[in-house]
Amino acid sequence: MDFDKYNKKHYYGDGYKKKRFGKKTFIFLVFSFVLVTILFSAFYGNGGITGNVIGSINQNNSIEIKTSFSVPEVSLDDEYKEIVLTLNKGGVINLDDKKITLEENENQVILKNFKGEIKIDENNIKYFKGKISEIKINNLPVIKESGKLKISLSQNSKYSFFQIEEGVYLKNVFFITSGNINVGEDSLNLNSEKVEIKNYFGSLTLENKKLIFNGLVESINIEGGSRKVTLSK
């Protein structure tokens, strides 16, 4: 008599094999979903701008551009010499342990030697945290005698102007946007097209719901509708 057969059936039940297969299939399907989401997000998602790597750009291989794009989400994590921004009324600036609430309708804030993280979209500064050597709020300077000041802004602070005048380096970014790019005297209009920028070095300005890049770039790929354009030297 084949007792083993009887035993396995008795011990695990009739549906044993089927159940295990179901669990494995479920895990595999979830894994596939996660992979597809990552790949989709990397290649076809709205992307965004993430600049955090200090790099170098070869001027001989670069072209000069000026853009006016609709604003994707911009994430920056680096060191900048100067940041100028205009915050709206009600914004809160945390400086070390002090809290400064902005009273004016428009408040110009200048930050010197900022090092930290910034996340910003069309209307709000979603995240802003770092260290600075000096800050001017409506032309009133605040300086720490020794060391740096810790700065953070309240979440989703409304702004009307944001500019990093120089030193923005973006290694490889892509996003879907509308607007125009000026390369020398030529201009290219975009309508919800994917833009991939490689090795950008220059300024970054967000003003009137427009993202303005003004600097040097190694190459720009534009993909959308039926066209595919590559701009490079």
């Binding site: 011990y11 979903f33 989401t37 990552i38 993430t50």
Partner: protein
């Protein structure tokens, strides 16, 4: 049963979950690759990746923790479940034979199942996916034969 001395206690080997760990590594690798390349991933992709990794680690550890098998001086103990515990204590005298179930893949990684069959027509104990099952069988056989020898009635003169 709790106070008895276990000569050997085993749980499922972590090698059982190597495919799941491979999934985690591939997800982390992919995210790192895109981060290095400068392609930013949206927060949804990052959140579900993170959740998947946490759930897999949680699942594997709970699954591993759920069952254990132990050898004492006189018996073999099987414990299954975490909340609903089911413990079987089988005396060596009711064990008829032991067999090793180790397919090719498990053999490469040196883990596998050990079936402990009983004389009586009742369910055998299946010790699932343990590390070095061959050595476990040898150890169990040694303990059983020692135990049977001590009960055989032979005395040293």
């Amino acid at each position: 049963m709790q106070n008895r001395k276990y000569l050997l206690k085993v749980r499922r080997s972590r090698k059982t979950y190597c495919l799941l760990y491979l999934m985690i590594i591939s997800i982390i690798g992919l995210i790192s690759y895109f981060y290095y390349k400068g392609n930013s991933l949206n927060s949804f992709a990052l959140i579900i990746s993170f959740l998947f990794i946490i759930l897999i680690i949680k699942f594997t550890e709970l699954h591993r923790f759920k069952d254990w098998w132990a050898i004492t001086n006189t018996s073999i103990i099987q414990s299954t479940g975490i909340l609903n515990k089911n413990v079987r204590d089988i005396d060596f005298s009711s064990i008829s034979d032991l067999d090793l179930d180790q397919p090719f893949f498990k053999r490469i990684l040196n883990y596998g199942n050990v079936n402990v069959r009983l004389f009586l027509n009742e369910t055998s104990i299946k010790i699932i996916d343990i590390n070095k099952p061959g050595e476990f069988i040898e150890e169990l056989q040694r303990i059983i034969s020692m135990n049977r020898g001590s009960k055989s009635g032979l005395r040293q003169i």
